[in-house]
Every structure is written in structure tokens, then in C-alpha cells.
């Protein structure tokens, strides 16, 4: 069977997976069977997609099925780009399913999760395979709705209902934008298959770009369309959060790449000038918002926003280079973006698994109620730490490689003969560097408050290590993070076909370079060798340990903490998530979030406790969403008047409307002729 056929057969198989659950005697058996089947199916598709990506280079396989609209049918196609994204989707999905085999046991309402989970996986796979606008949009909506059902699985919590409402609003809005974009691409002749769209130039390619930015950007979480993401991603069960953050946002990135790089013709010079600053703002606002959180899962969701910003910086640079006919540089920028897509799907899934393991074990996702989990959950702590190092873009793990490539792409941009880019890119480079440093601060906070220190509550004190399936998923993801970090050249070569198909060039082949270094342009320009950095660090650590242990005292004595002589027994005196972020809140938050601190100090002799209140506002919500929702409710109030009219009034209203419409029609005909 061809890889495309394997992938397509997996869709009905996935949709049938819940039937396994229906035949199971108990919920726990149903959970294991469903997730086990999902794991197996995703693994098979993963292998098939990988084989296509590596084996077939950039040849495309396509298939036309006579389902759907009769005059269009359903087109499917597997080329380099979709094979790469199929790998990302199914790797994440296989990991999440493996994790859920164990984690699913803790689910309170499995009946609300099990039927939708395989559907969600099927939806994401279909989006990546679709080769006509109709199939794409139907799959896209299928993905949105099934994930919405998972977000509101725990619907008894009012926060989750609100998250679900905002999500479904934003998802509908995004699909509307994509629908209009495809309408423009198809043009008057109505060529809805992607092959026909490639052949013709759209009427208004600039407008298509803006619509795709709205449609795919809202799904991916570009500022200012990200507001639903930090609400909806944490509301879902943790393995679904991992999929939504790690994988579904990548499907949105796929939609953007497919339409803008593939279908929409050659890019205009100003496209990147729109994309790059948006991406830079997304980066900084995402990570700053993450720093202000103390809910572990919400913190991770905000970090997805940041990483989407990093990916879009790469995509924006690739657009700029393509528009100015610099294919080699465009290939570097696009490779950086795609590698970050892959890397982010790995470590974000890993981190959400860790948060899920903590949640399952303690029933807490508020970091202020955790602490000291490294003693109770050492293996989870180890993998979570790996994910933290990877997402903070620290060598020798994988997050650093893709950020390093993005930096190298930025360094090529002074050659672009466009003043917009010349003035924009340094600022965005600074934003990227700033967000990398802030991400490190944020993950010191996340890991330090959750896993280090002393337990703040009884739940944290009695936490249990995660089950073996969850641990297997976490260790698998952590191992891949390290592997891609030390062998980045292999990853770059594997995704070369996807890049080549889009910008007509690829990065120089990395497999021939000695010692597995990566060299984006030329060795005199820059090179990085993750393997040697890793070997050097390991060796010097071993040398240091060996020397110390040979010549130094090996005695260890355990005693009470020193703490300058005044140790305080209450764990409440530790630094909390909020107090850790307080210096950064003072430096950045006063401007960005209008954060204000107020201290109410009782008068001397008054035994009441002192209170400190911090208020902060969300600038995006204030500037965009509050006015819109305000206007909507005002309009709804006014229109509500129409609801309670008498028959006579309705009849006259209909009559007036008809007359006005006829009049307008007459005017239009007059102008037309």
C-alpha cells in the first residue's frame, strides 16, 4: 500500500476506534482499548509518512475519491510538505495516545472524551492530506468541532464553558476567513481543487494573505487572535491539551504555509512586512503573559503563543527572501520555521504530559499549591526538566537549534533590498532574543515552583509517580528532544524535500559535513555542532566529577537548611510563582499589562494582616475584544426590540424591506448598464 493509502485508510479506522470502547466491559478497559488503537494507527501512519518524506523526496502522490460534492469529489495529496506535517501530527498523536493509556484512567467522564478523541486525530490528519478547498474546510471544521467537544468535556466548570464558547466563536470566525480566502483563490471559474488554484493567479493575492492570517492565525494563536488559546488548551484533558498545543497549532501553520507559499502565487514585497512584526509581538506578548501565570497548564498554553511567534518569524523571513528572489536564504528561514514546528510539537507535548502527570497525581494545576515534587515524582521531574531546557532554547537540546537557525536567517536579511525589512528585522531580532531569555526565566519559575523547594500542600506531599505508559510517552519525547538537538543535520536533511517544494531551493546537504556539524550557509559564516557540544559537556562533567571524587572529601552530611541562620519551617515562606515573576512584572508588566501593586499596611498595633493586591489588564482584550463584545450586546439589545412586534408591524416591516431592496436593485442595474 502506498503511504497515502495507509494514511487515508487510517481515517475510517480511527473513526471506528470508539466502537472498541462501546464493546468494553468497563470504562478502564474502554480507555485502554481506544487509546491503544489510536496509538497503533498513528504509529503506522507516522511510519508511512516518514517513509514517504525520506524515500519519495518531493514526488507527490494524489488520489481522487468520489465523495463529497458531486462536481468536485474529494482530492487527497501527499507531497513533501504534507508528509512532513503528517509526521508531526502522528508523532504527537502517537505520544499523546500512549500517554493517555495510563492517564485516561484518571478521567472523570471518559464517555465525553473517548468518542471525540479519535475523531480529533482523524480531523487533523485529513486537513494535512486535503487537496481541494472543500475537503480542506470540512476537515478543518471537523478538527475544530471535535476539539471543541473535548474542551467542554468537563463542562460543569463554568470556566471551561466560557473557554468553549470563546473557542467556538474564534474557530467559526477563522473558518469564515479561510472560506473567503479560498473563494478568492478559486476565482470566478470556481476551480476548487488545489491543482487548479496553483495554475491560476488569485484576483487579490494580498487580500488572500490577510484572510489566511486571520483564519490560520487565529487557530495557531497569533496575537491578537490568541485569546481563546490560553483558555481552551488548559481546559481540555491533558493529553488533548498536548495535542491542541503541540499539534493542532501546527496544522494551522500548515494551512498558512500551504495557502501562502503554495497556492497564492509569488509573494509581494509587503507580505513579510505584515507578518514579521505580528510574529515579533506574538513572541514577546506570549512569553510575558506566560510569566504572569501561576496555573501550570495556562502557562504552557501561553508559551505556545510565543513559539508560534518564533515559527512565524521564520515564515515571514522566508516570504521576504522569496519576494526578493533569494531562494537559498528563503530555504534557510523556512527550514528554521519547520524545524521549530517539529521541535515545538515535541517539547510542548512533553511539557503538557508532565503537567498532566502532576495534575493526575495531585489534582492541582495551580503551581502555588505544589512544590517539592522532584522527591515524589523523580522521573516525571527529570523529563519535565528536559522539556524546560529544550523550550528555553538552551544547548544541547533541540529548541536551541531552530532558534539558532532563525537567528542565522535574520543575519542574512540586511541583503534584502527593501527598507521596510531593513528597519523591521533588527527590532524583531531583539524581540526574539528577549523572548528567548524570558522563556528561560519562565521555565526556571515553572520547574522551580512546581518541582523544587518544599511541598506547599498535602496533595503535593503525597503525590505518586506517574504510571508506566505516561512515563514511556514522556521519556520517548525527551529522548527525541535530545536526539534532534545533537543530530540537527539529519533533521534538516529529512525536511529538505518539504522546503524545496515550496521555495525552490534547499539548505546545503548537512550529511556530508564532517563531525555532523550544521552549516547553514558557509563554514566561515557560522556553524554549530550539537553532538560535540553534548560530548564536550558530558566529558567535562565526568572529568570534573572524577577529579573531585578522587581528590576531594566524599563526605556528605545532611542538616537543616542554612538560610543565613534563620530557616523558617513554614513552606509558605518560599518564593511562589507570583513572587518569582515580581521583578519581571515590575520591569515589563507595568508597561505591557498596566500591572499595579497596592499594599495595604495596617497601622502599627493593628493585628490585621497586611494585604498586597496586584491588578493587571490584558491589553489585547481591552483594545479589541471588549469593544467588539460591547458593540455586539448593544446591537443585540436594539435588535431585540424587533422580537416583540405585532403582526401588523411585521407586515409593514416586510413591505418596507421589499421596497428598499427593489430600489437598491434598480440602482445597481442602472449603474451596471
Amino acid at each position: 500500500m502506498t503511504p497515502l493509502a495507509v494514511a487515508l485508510w487510517s481515517i475510517p479506522a480511527l473513526l471506528c476506534a470508539p466502537m472498541l470502547a462501546a464493546t468494553a466491559p468497563r470504562w478502564s478497559a474502554a480507555t485502554r482499548r481506544t487509546y491503544g488503537a489510536c496509538f497503533a494507527l498513528c504509529f503506522i501512519v507516522l511510519v508511512a509518512a516518514f517513509v514517504h518524506l525520506v524515500g519519495a523526496r518531493n514526488t507527490a502522490a494524489s488520489l481522487h475519491l468520489p465523495i463529497g460534492l458531486p462536481w468536485i469529489g474529494a482530492h487527497f495529496r501527499l507531497d513533501g510538505l504534507s508528509a512532513f506535517f503528517l509526521v508531526v501530527v502522528n508523532l504527537g498523536a502517537a505520544g499523546a495516545s500512549l500517554f493517555a493509556i495510563g492517564y485516561g484512567e484518571h478521567e472523570e467522564s471518559p464517555g465525553r472524551v473517548l468518542p471525540f478523541y479519535p475523531a480529533f486525530l482523524a480531523g487533523m490528519n485529513l486537513v494535512v492530506l486535503a487537496d481541494d478547498a472543500f475537503t480542506f474546510l470540512v476537515s478543518w471544521e471537523f478538527m475544530s468541532l471535535s476539539s471543541w467537544a473535548l474542551v467542554v468535556a468537563h463542562h460543569k466548570d463554568p470556566d471551561n464553558r466560557r473557554a468553549g464558547f470563546i473557542y467556538i466563536m474564534m474557530a467559526s470566525f477563522g473558518t469564515l476567513a479561510l472560506l473567503l480566502a479560498f473563494g478568492l483563490l478559486a476565482g470566478g471559474s470556481g476551480g476548487y481543487s488545489f491543482t487548479e488554484m496553483r495554475g491560476t493567479t488569485a484576483a487579490l493575492p494580498g487580500l488572500v494573505l490577510l484572510l489566511v492570517l486571520l483564519g490560520a492565525g487565529s487557530k495557531a494563536g497569533l496575537v491578537p487572535l490568541h485569546v481563546w488559546l490560553p483558555l481552551a488548551h488548559p481546559a481540555a484533558p491533558s493529553h488533548v491539551s498536548a495535542l491542541m498545543s503541540g499539534v493542532m497549532t501546527k496544522v494551522a501553520v500548515y494551512g498558512f504555509i500551504r495557502i501562502v507559499f503554495d497556492l497564492n502565487g509569488p509573494p509581494a514585497w509587503w507580505w513579510s512586512v505584515v507578518v514579521i512584526p505580528l510574529a515579533g509581538i506574538t513572541c514577546v506578548l506570549g512569553v510575558l503573559s506566560a510569566l504572569m501565570q501561576h496555573d501550570l497548564k495556562r502557562l504552557l498554553a501561553y508559551h505556545t503563543v510565543e513559539n508560534i511567534g518564533i515559527i512565524f518569524i521564520g515564515l515571514g523571513l522566508a516570504l521576504a527572501f522569496s519576494a526578493h528572489k533569494m531562494p537559498a536564504a528563503a530555504a534557510l528561514a523556512l527550514t528554521a520555521a519547520l524545524l521549530h514546528v517539529f521541535n515545538h510539537s515535541l517539547f510542548k507535548s512533553l511539557l503538557f504530559f508532565g503537567a498532566g502527570a502532576v495534575l493526575a497525581s495531585t489534582r492541582e494545576r495551580d503551581m502555588e499549591h505544589l512544590g517539592g515534587l522532584i522527591h515524589r515524582m523523580p522521573l516525571t521531574a527529570f523529563t519535565f526538566l528536559t522539556g524546560c531546557v529544550a523550550i528555553s532554547a538552551l544547548p544541547p537540546l533541540n529548541g536551541f537549534v531552530s532558534e539558532w537557525l532563525t537567528f542565522q536567517a535574520i543575519l542574512l536579511s540586511p541583503d534584502v533590498p527593501s527598507w521596510g525589512i531593513k528597519l523591521l528585522v533588527p527590532a524583531v531580532g531583539a524581540m526574539l532574543a528577549l523572548s528567548a531569555a524570558l522563556a528561560a526565566a519562565c521555565f526556571v519559575k515553572a520547574f522551580g515552583v512546581t518541582f523544587l523547594g518544599r511541598a506547599r500542600t498535602g496533595a503535593a506531599q503525597t503525590a505518586q509517580e506517574a504510571d508506566r505508559f505516561s512515563l514511556a510517552a514522556m521519556f520517548g519525547a525527551a529522548a527525541l528532544c535530545l536526539l534532534v538537538g545533537i543530530l540537527p543535520g539529519v533533521a534538516i536533511d529529512v525536511l529538505a524535500p518539504a522546503v524545496e517544494g515550496l521555495v525552490g531551493a534547499r539548505m546545503p546537504s548537512q550529511s556530508t559535513i564532517s563531525w555532523l556539524s550544521i552549516v547553514p550557509v558557509a563554514e566561515s559564516r557560522s556553524s554549530y555542532n550539537g553532538l560535540l557540544v553534548f560530548v564536550f559537556i558530558t566529558m567535562s562533567t565526568l572529568v570534573a566529577i572524577e577529579i573531585i571524587h578522587r581528590f576531594a572529601s566524599r563526605a556528605v552530611r545532611r542538616g537543616p537548611a542554612w538560610d543565613c541562620g534563620f530557616p523558617e519551617p513554614s513552606p509558605a515562606t518560599q518564593y511562589t510563582a507570583d513572587s518569582f515573576a515580581q521583578p519581571i512584572r515590575r520591569v515589563f508588566g507595568e508597561v505591557v499589562f498596566m500591572a499595579r501593586e497596592r499594599v495595604d499596611m495596617p497601622a502599627p498595633g493593628n493585628a490585621q494582616p497586611a494585604r498586597m493586591t496586584v491588578t493587571q489588564r490584558d491589553p489585547v482584550w481591552d483594545a479589541i475584544y471588549s469593544p467588539i463584545s460591547g458593540a455586539t450586546s448593544v446591537a443585540a439589545d436594539k435588535l431585540g426590540y424587533l422580537q416583540f412586534l405585532t403582526i401588523r408591524q411585521y407586515l409593514s416591516l416586510v413591505f418596507v424591506a421589499l421596497v428598499v431592496l427593489l430600489f437598491v436593485l434598480m440602482l445597481v442595474m442602472l449603474v451596471w448598464t
Binding site: 512544590g371 517539592g372 522532584i374 526538566l385 531546557v389 538552551l394 536551541f400 539558532w404 537567528f407 542565522q408 535574520i410 540586511p414 528597519l423 528585522v425 533588527p426 527590532a427 531580532g429 531583539a430 532574543a433 528567548a436 531569555a437 528561560a440 526565566a441 526556571v444 519559575k445 522551580g448 523544587l452 518544599r454 556539524s517 563554514e523 566561515s524 559564516r525 556553524s527 555542532n529 557540544v533 559537556i537 558530558t538 567535562s540 562533567t541 570534573a544 573531585i548 576531594a552 572529601s553 556528605v556 552530611r557 545532611r558 542538616g559 537543616p560 537548611a561 538560610d563 543565613c564 530557616p567 523558617e568 513552606p571 518560599q574 518569582f580 515573576a581 521583578p583 515590575r586 520591569v587
Partner: protein, 317 residues
């Protein structure tokens, strides 16, 4: 055979930075004491301190985790690798293409990441205050460092330090952007090494400590390793400033033994001058309040950004 010949200078550099780092620390302490009209400890005192520390038993807090015990070694090795990748007496050493300036900055970031974590491991308020403030400083110092790297890369057409040093040797000229980058790099170096005016390496006054607060719970060999890492970091920044802004004397790849000897002599000279200037600066200014530091580091970030912007506009700045 060729490989071994190429590896010798690289190995020598790895050992050289280890050997010189405590000496540099002793030297700066000595000079500082002399400037304050004190006699000061002997030059070799840091070596003795380290020896004494590793001979003592390590006292661990009851709830110290495995991260607390392994953290110092990770911090040390990341710093050591970074220090061994910055050209000291020669350029184009065997492993110099392993990591460029951005990767070296990121390696230091890894070390700082673990330092921030171990500060929080025991769960004391001092550890937390140190980690929290250190990460706030880093959130400005690290982007400033990346901006400096960008400025140099745009000038020299490379982010590899060996190539940058060679470029500076052959194309040395006064440039606005280089001046801005130097000023920014000095500020970053002061902050990263916890020197006055950002932090005081000699303080144990609780509320003003940053770096010292994070390592407060350490003792014995763990403390020795952390102190060594701090000394290596100071050496790294002086070597970095030396190889970029005063690259004279650096032996190019494949030099003769004399070339290396000249490189070594000039390197030691550069460290002596650099250390002296550092101490001169430190003794002439007062320590800042913690919330003045972001402004100070913000200046470095803005200078770096300005230098980069100038080069984006025209390569002749």
C-alpha cells in the same frame, strides 16, 4: 597524527582557562585591595580557597534533591566548555567551529538556567530571591548579548569568534557600531559576573545579594565547583572582550610554537590590563539598587540594538 597536533592547542586552551581563572580572581582582589590601600590576600589565595573547600565535607540541606547535587557539575561544565571555545591565545583551534558566539551565549544561558534552579531547590526565601533577580537581570542581559553578536556578525560576516577576531585584525578601524557594542558588552559582562554596580561579589548582606543568595546553601566541594565556574565566567568575558576588541597577538591556525608563545604572553597581558580596568571601574562607582539594574541593562540592550540597526542601514558605520 595531524588530528593530535591540532588537538594539542585546543586541549592546552581547555587547561589554560582552568589554570588561569582562579589567578585572575586573585589578581582582581589584590588590585582592588591595593586601590583601597589595603594589603589584600595573596595572589594564589583563590587556589587555596578551592583546595580547602574540596577537602571539607559537604553539608546538604535535608530536602536537597539530586538536582542540587548534580547542578554544580552541570554549571561548571557548561561554563568550562563555553570558556574553552572563546579564543584566548590563538584562533581557529580545532573545536572552534563547534559553537559560534550565539551558541556560547546560550551555553552560558544553560549554566544560568541550572543556577537559577538550584537556588530554588531547598525552598528558602533567599534562594528564591536570588534566582528571581538573576533571571530578571538575564532577561535583559542575554538579548543584549545577542544584539552584540548580531552587530559583530554583520560587520565580520560571521558569528564564529575565530573569524571575527581575524576580521578585526585585518580590518581594524574605528567604527560607531563597534564602540556601541563595546559599551554594551562591558555592561553585560559586569552584570553576568555579578560585579559592582550590579551585584557585589564580596557581599553577604542578605537583601542585596543576588549571585551569593543562590549559592547560599552550598558548602564543601559543591561550593568549590560553583566558585570555580564563577571564576571561569569572569575569565571568559575578559577573553571575549580581548579577542574581539584587542585581537592583536592572537596566533592564527597552524602557527609555530613561537607564535603560540607570543599569543600566550599577550593574552596574559590583556587579562592583566582588563582585570585592572574592571577593578578601577568597580572601585570608582557604587552599587545600584536592584530596580536600577534593569535601566542599566536596558542601556546595554538599546546600545546593542542601535549598533545593529546602524549596520542594517549601512555596513560602513
Amino acid at each position: 597524527m595531524d588530528l593530535i597536533l591540532e588537538l594539542i592547542p585546543q586541549g592546552a586552551q581547555m587547561i589554560l582557562v582552568l589554570a588561569l581563572a582562579p589567578l585572575l580572581l586573585g589578581y582582581t582582589r589584590k588590585v582592588k585591595a591595593r586601590l583601597l590601600r589595603r594589603r589584600g590576600p595573596p595572589l594564589l589565595q583563590p587556589y587555596r580557597d578551592l583546595l580547602r573547600l574540596i577537602r571539607k565535607e559537604a553539608v546538604l540541606a535535608e530536602n536537597a534533591s539530586w538536582l542540587f547535587r548534580s547542578g554544580p557539575y552541570m554549571i561548571f561544565s557548561a561554563t568550562w566548555v563555553a570558556a574553552a571555545l572563546v579564543p584566548t591565545f590563538a584562533t581557529g583551534l580545532y573545536a572552534s567551529w563547534t559553537a559560534d558566539l550565539i551558541a556560547i551565549a546560550a551555553l552560558l544561558g544553560s549554566a544560568r538556567f541550572f543556577l537559577g534552579l538550584v537556588g530554588m531547590d531547598i525552598g528558602t526565601s533567599f534562594g528564591g530571591i536570588g534566582s528571581s533577580r538573576e533571571m530578571m537581570f538575564a532577561s535583559l542581559a542575554e538579548p543584549a548579548m545577542i544584539m552584540i553578536a548580531f552587530t559583530l556578525a554583520l560587520l565580520a560576516g560571521s558569528t564564529q569568534l575565530s573569524y571575527i577576531a581575524q576580521f578585526m585584525l585585518t580590518h581594524s578601524s574605528l567604527r560607531v557600531s563597534l564602540g556601541l557594542a563595546l559599551a554594551a558588552l562591558v555592561i553585560v559582562a559586569l552584570a553576568e559576573n555579578a560585579r559592582i554596580p550590579v551585584d557585589n561579589p564580596a557581599t553577604h548582606l542578605e537583601l542585596t545579594m543576588v549571585h551569593e543568595a543562590m549559592v547560599l546553601e552550598y558548602s564543601g566541594r559543591h561550593l568549590a565547583v560553583l566558585e570555580f565556574a564563577a571564576a571561569l565566567k569572569l575569565l571568559l568575558y575578559l577573553s571575549l572582550i580581548g579577542c574581539i576588541f584587542v585581537p592583536w597577538g592572537l596566533a592564527p591556525a597552524g602557527s609555530s610554537l613561537t607564535g603560540y608563545a607570543v599569543g600566550l604572553a599577550t593574552y596574559v597581558g590583556k587579562l592583566a590590563v582588563g582585570g585592572f580596568l574592571l577593578v578601577l571601574l568597580e572601585t570608582s562607582i557604587a552599587k545600584m539598587r536592584v530596580f536600577r539594574v534593569p535601566d542599566f541593562l536596558g542601556i546595554a540592550l538599546m546600545l546593542g540594538l542601535l549598533a545593529m540597526l546602524l549596520l542594517f542601514v549601512s555596513r560602513s558605520f
